[in-house]
């Protein structure tokens, strides 16, 4: 009788287990969808109440660009400019129309949040594509979704999360193509999302390049495949590279220089030249240091345990004979690493990170968010290792994952991207009494301001974007710098910014300034003038 009861209990448990497994396997993507939405919502709420959404100066600039397209003094797509790639700005357009979404930065959070959810789902799908293992794929999703640096960035208007999403989407379809599944549609979709990536951040250009090279490479090594691979390559690169071509054309037609994004005084290259002049571009033309800088930054973003385990996972993957399209898969997921190392090496980017940046440098925390770009790689190969190892080792890996996550959540490992936004060089203008003064005294009229110099935070002031005259409002800006009285009621200038240089430092125009305006605010760096009625 007892054995009968035990048998019945076992049968019941087996059936229950089966049902649970079936439920999870069939509803996994839905679960991930819901979980990632919850995570995005909570993280954004925390950022919102702590005023972290626009903690980065760039975050405000991104959302302001979108706002200027729809609500600026001279609205239109030309406001997208030619330095930052336009994808996220365009996607924000419908949301920034609402002033509260613009001023709080939530318009950007929405976009990043949506891309975060997409990235979560596709990290899962990509890992499953490679491992055919639901649980391991769920672990990969967990690594990505619970990374606090990712969670923070997805609550901001920054462009890293949209890029990661495009990158993962493209990689997923690209790997599908490499596996020979739905070859044509997969290749087109890989190209389409690479196109998206190429218009989101310049990292995307490397993705296009790498995927193109991976497509053609079988044809180079095997002449019989050449025609086919060449066709595939053209098909891919025509779509994937179309965004890049458009960006050159945009620069040429709208801004007068196809290479405006790199030649302009506002470009990253120009910024890095300033660092170089100060001797604070350590990785420039130093490959080893470039690698060290990026590895160190990646490690700081992912956590030690995850970083090391993922690295092992990637080596096991490469060594595995059963894995399909190993080199191609690895290479495509490795693109962010290559891009960032090359950028550091060429002096196109700079990272300052405590522990590595020399003490005598002015700043020790800057651009560390670049490290998050490697998290998808880490997540996928952590998942791969989980899929490959024995049950007992699986448990160890999971324990280490939990430990790493706990360290982040308990604050023992700093959320370095947030730190950069709150007190690093990337930090936005902290509201001072300048904004307070404007909020108390601004009573309408145009405000002439060098927006690029971030003299004040426009989102945190009460000035409507339509009333701001900045460098992008060409006729108004140029004329105002010569005749400040022509349009402006207010002039806000910061020491050595464009307005200061053109008006305050020019004795002739300074005369006009004092003729038509009176100084209403003075601080060490900032002066505010108001027009005399």
């Amino acid at each position: 009788m007892q054995s009968f009861i035990i048998t019945r209990q076992q049968t019941f448990m087996e059936s229950f287990n089966k049902k649970i497994k079936l439920f999870f396997s069939t509803n996994m993507e839905k679960m991930i969808f819901l979980l990632s939405i919850c995570a995005a919502f909570i993280a954004t709420y925390i950022s919102y109440i702590n005023h972290w959404i626009l903690a980065y100066g760039d975050a405000e600039s991104h959302i302001n660009i979108a706002k200027k397209v729809v609500n600026g003094l001279t609205p239109g797509f030309a406001q997208l400019g030619g330095i930052w790639l336009p994808m996220t700005h365009i996607l924000m357009l419908p949301f920034v129309i609402a002033d509260p979404l613009w001023r709080t930065g939530l318009a950007g959070s929405l976009i990043s949040g949506i891309f975060y959810v997409i990235a979560c789902i596709y990290i899962f799908k990509l890992t499953r594509l490679i491992t055919q293992h639901n649980f391991a794929s769920f672990i990969a999703f967990t690594i990505f979704a619970t990374n606090l640096n990712i969670l923070y960035l997805q609550s901001t208007p920054m462009t890293e999360i949209p890029l990661i999403a495009f990158f993962i989407l493209s990689s997923y379809y690209f790997v599908k193509y490499l596996h020979g599944n739905h070859v044509l549609s997969s290749l087109i979709l890989a190209g389409l999302f690479a196109f998206g990536a190429s218009l989101t951040r310049y990292d995307g250009w490397f993705l296009v390049l790498f995927e193109t090279l991976i497509v053609i490479s079988p044809g180079i090594f095997n002449r019989k495949l050449f025609v086919r691979q060449k066709g595939d390559m053209i098909l891919f690169v025509t779509l994937a590279g179309f965004g890049i071509l458009c960006w050159f054309v945009w620069g040429g037609l709208i801004l007068g220089d196809p290479l405006y994004f790199t030649d302009s005084i506002y470009s990253a290259k120009s910024q890095q030249l300033a660092w170089m002049a100060k001797g604070e571009l350590p990785a420039y033309h130093n490959l080893l240091l470039s690698i060290i800088y990026y590895v160190y930054t990646a490690l700081a973003n992912t956590g030690f345990f995850i970083f090391v385990i993922s690295l092992v996972g990637s080596i096991v993957f490469l060594a595995s004979n059963s894995a399909k399209a190993r080199i191609g898969t690895l290479l495509v997921l490795f693109v962010p690493f290559v891009f960032n190392v090359v950028s550091l090496f060429l002096g196109q980017a700079v990272i300052f990170i405590p522990g590595l940046t020399p003490q005598h440098f002015d700043y020790h925390l800057f651009n560390v968010r670049y490290g998050v770009m490697i998290i998808p790689f880490m997540a996928v190969f952590f998942g791969y290792l989980v899929a490959r190892v024995h049950k007992s080792l699986k448990l160890v890996l999971i324990m280490l994952l939990i430990l790493q996550t706990a360290l982040f959540f308990m604050g023992d490992t700093p959320v370095i991207t947030l730190a950069d936004g709150t007190h690093g060089l990337s930090a936005n203008k902290v509201p001072t009494n300048v904004e307070q003064f404007i909020n108390e005294h601004y009573d309408g009229g145009f405000v002439l301001i060098d927006d690029y110099a971030r003299t004040i935070s426009i989102t945190q002031s009460t000035i409507p974007m339509q009333k701001v005259i900045y460098v992008g409002n060409k006729p108004y800006w140029d004329e105002s710098l010569k005749h400040p009285e022509k349009y402006a009621t207010w002039i806000v200038m910061q020491k050595n910014d464009a307005v200061w240089s053109a008006i305050y430092n020019n004795s002739k125009i300074q005369g006009d300034l004092y003729k038509y305006f009176k100084k209403v605010y003075t601080s060490q760096d900032i002066l505010i003038f108001k027009r005399i009625n």
Binding site: G76, F77, L184, R228, G231, I234, L235, T238, L239, L253
Partner: protein, 738 residues
């Protein structure tokens, strides 16, 4: 012996009618001509009826009282309806016309005339009447209608079928002009004799000279402006010649039950003409009142249409991937069916001056894996193509081939030949192949199975077309890319949404009974299959695409390509105009949405060819001469229009180009993908072809610009490439014994 029904309209002719009957009898009796006299009396107040009744006792005379409205014309029409014989004679009852002329007139009929008119020689009339009569003849007969004989003559003999065929709507005195004019338009031959008009000896003339002249004159002018009428064949002619009609005296035999109004015979209807003129007038008025705003609106409308077309095409291409609609047929499915089960199949192959490709065609047909005893391969040759007929006679054609000579007639088109072939088709299923086609050997079997697998309302199975000589030159490469896009992406996309599919020129399979139900092809449409594709959707049917391919010869000569492409575009224009005559015809079959897809697929495709050069010109001018014309051009593009336009320009052109690449890749033409970058040049040539097409639509709408085939045979290199593609020799002369 000839038999004649003589109709005499009378009104108070008591003094003449008896003599007339006697003179008729005397004349005809001696000439051994049987006759009947039908007197239609218009309620005479004298003894006319009594006299007629009296004579009816001695002669074959019947008296009828007029039923309808007063006037001679109505009396004649009623009289014709009582006639028993196939020849009719009308003669006035006033004895001014000499019945002794009738034998001479009959003689003319025997010599081939269909209508004989007795021209009056006026000697006993007043100068005024004579002047009026001659002037009338000259102005209203000769100048206005080109009728160089005595229209108003009261003595005429003609075949009864003419009156049965024509629809005549005369006023009391206007029968003659309308009758003669329409007889000429209906292709009848009119002859004349001269006859001296006698002086009236009894009774009074019924004609009020001025009043009747006015009536006849007005009617002549009205007829001139009413335009020509399409006059269908008489039932007896139909039995002999097939379905057809006359227009402006010219005979057209189209062998289809389609009414002329359902065909592309007429370019535009009156209503369409009014719409076009009104639209142009509105545009012109707008330009006069405020040219700048009018141009802005014009550009905005065009831009919007472009934008919609762009989205629609994107949707179609996506659908073709997401929901591939083509029917797949496996080898196992084919092998499961024993030979005796397969239905009989008719293959139409219209040939015109291209006998050189016959060996290739015979080869292709022989390669078809289908029970040959179930095959009827019909070579449709034109009677006037003596060279092909002679060459074919030399060939030792397989037993399942049948040579059918299509009698010489207009229009000279492929669909006309196919309609003729359809009347002789014995197969349960039917398909058209061009002579240079190399179909998939299993295509017939696949199509039969596809019909079984398709939805119930599937009436046509279209095989995909592609080319076997893509590598011949630049033109064939891009042409192949275009075909790959059309058949591998667009058509499958259209099928997936059940939209009207403009069928390709060949390899569309039907159940023969369905083809009859659809009344065959429109012989006047130079893209008859596109028309058929739309027509069948309007009837509530659909087309399915089967996963089978027919390889054709890509046009390798630019001039030949222009001829072919301008014909296709002209055909699309014809199709668009035919199916927009009555837009309500789209409605009953629950296909309302396809009214829009039809506009986009046919109308949009053609319109864009005309508009593209204008848009490219504006864009190029803007960027090249920006300092001079930049502001001016910008003033026509308000922000929403500008953004929509720029999006269409950049994304639209890119996508269209990219679709070609996808088409190539999907079809496996990887070696052609790189040539797609040159497609914009091809688009330019297409736009040129569209203007040629428009010119041809106006000047020679039914002209079939023949595409020369067999150009690939001249080049050994191309022949070798073809062999590689088709995996067989296309042309083996030995096969046909030459």
């Amino acid at each position: 012996m000839q038999s004649l029904s003589i109709i005499i309209p009378t009104w108070n002719e008591v003094g003449n009618i008896g003599h007339l009957i006697e003179r008729i009898n005397n004349t005809l009796y001696h000439k051994n001509i049987s006759y009947e006299i039908i007197v239609v009396d218009d309620h005479s107040s004298d003894k006319t009826q009594s006299v007629v009744k009296h004579f009816a006792q001695r002669f074959p005379v019947r008296l009828y009282l007029k039923q309808g409205i007063p006037g001679k014309a109505q009396s004649l029409l009623e009289g014709f309806s009582y006639a028993q014989y196939d020849l009719l004679c009308m003669i006035d009852g006033d004895l001014q016309y000499q019945p002794e002329s009738i034998p001479e007139m009959l003689d003319k009929i025997n010599r081939g005339a269909d209508v004989v008119v007795a021209n009056r020689i006026l000697s006993n009339t007043t100068f005024i009447r004579n002047f009026f009569s001659r002037s009338f003849l000259y102005i209203f007969g000769k100048i206005l209608h080109g009728l160089n004989f005595d229209i108003q003559s009261g003595l005429k003999i003609f075949k009864k079928e003419i009156i049965e065929r024509l629809h005549i709507y005369p006023s009391p005195w206007t029968f003659d002009l309308e009758f003669l004019k329409k007889s000429l338009d209906a292709g009848y031959k009119i002859d004349t004799i001269n006859m001296r008009l006698a002086k009236r000896t009894s009774g009074e003339t019924k004609i009020h000279l001025l009043k009747s002249s006015w009536e006849i004159g007005i009617n002549a002018i009205k007829m001139k402006f009413q335009g020509k009428e399409i006059i269908p064949f008489h039932r007896n002619t139909r039995k002999v010649k097939g379905n057809g009609f006359h227009y402006n005296g010219k005979e057209f035999i189209h062998y289809s039950l389609l009414k002329p109004a359902e065909t592309a015979f007429q370019r535009i209807t009156f209503q369409q003409g009014v719409y076009i003129i009104v639209t142009l007038l509105i545009l012109l008025t707008g330009l006069i009142i405020n040219w700048h705003t009018t141009i802005i609106i014009f550009i905005a409308v065009l831009t919007f249409l472009y934008f919609i077309d762009l989205l629609f095409n994107l949707y179609l291409i996506t659908r073709s991937f997401v929901k591939p609609a083509e029917i797949k047929v496996s080898i196992e499915e084919i092998q499961a069916i024993p030979d005796h089960i397969w239905p009989s199949y008719t293959v139409f192959c219209p040939l015109y001056k291209e006998w050189q490709v016959i060996p290739q065609f015979v080869n292709s047909m022989s390669k078809l894996i289908y029970p040959k005893d179930k095959l009827q391969v019909m070579l449709l040759l034109e009677a006037n193509d003596k060279e092909t007929i002679d060459q074919v006679a030399k060939f030792n054609l397989p037993s399942y081939f049948e040579v059918v000579i299509v009698p010489h007639s207009y229009p000279k088109t492929k669909p006309k030949a196919c309609n003729y072939g359809l009347t002789k088709a014995t197969g349960e299923y039917a398909v058209i192949y061009d002579a240079e086609d190399a179909p998939d050997p299993l295509q017939l079997k696949k199509s039969v199975i596809a019909f079984a697998k398709a939805r119930r309302n599937t009436i046509c199975v279209q095989a995909k077309l592609n080319f076997y000589n893509p590598q011949q030159n630049f033109l064939t490469r891009v042409f192949t890319a275009e075909y790959s896009l059309w058949f591998d992406l667009v058509l499958t996309g259209l099928q997936s949404i059940g939209a009207p599919i403009p069928l390709g020129g060949t390899s569309n399979h039907f159940r023969t009974k369905d083809l009859h139900k659809l009344k065959g092809w429109d012989s006047f449409n130079v893209t008859e299959d596109a028309d058929l594709g739309i027509r069948l959707v309007k009837e509530g049917y659909t087309t399915a695409i089967v996963d089978s391919e027919t390889l054709e010869e890509a046009n390798s000569s630019l001039m030949n390509w222009f001829a072919q492409r301008s014909r296709w575009i002209k055909g699309y224009m014809q199709t668009y105009l035919v199916h927009t005559r009555n837009l309500k015809t789209f409605l009953p079959s629950n296909k309302r949405v396809h009214l829009i897809t039809f506009q986009l697929v046919i109308g949009g495709k053609v319109l864009s060819l005309f508009i593209n050069p204008l848009m490219w010109f504006i864009t190029l001018t803007y960027f090249i001469f920006r300092p001079f014309v930049g502001d001016f051009i910008e003033s026509f593009f308000p922000a929403p229009v500008l953004y929509m336009g720029v999006f269409s320009l950049v994304v639209g052109n890119f996508l269209y180009l990219y679709y070609y690449m996808i088409g190539c890749a999907k079809h496996g033409h990887y070696d052609l993908i790189q040539y797609v970058f040159l497609v914009p040049l091809y688009w330019l040539t297409m736009s040129i072809a569209s203007w040629i097409a428009l010119y041809q639509l106006i000047v020679k709408p039914h002209h079939w610009s023949k595409t020369k085939h067999g150009l690939h045979l001249k080049l050994k290199e191309t022949s070798d490439q073809v062999k590689q593609v088709v995996k067989k020799e296309l042309a083996t002369k030995n096969m046909v014994g030459i």
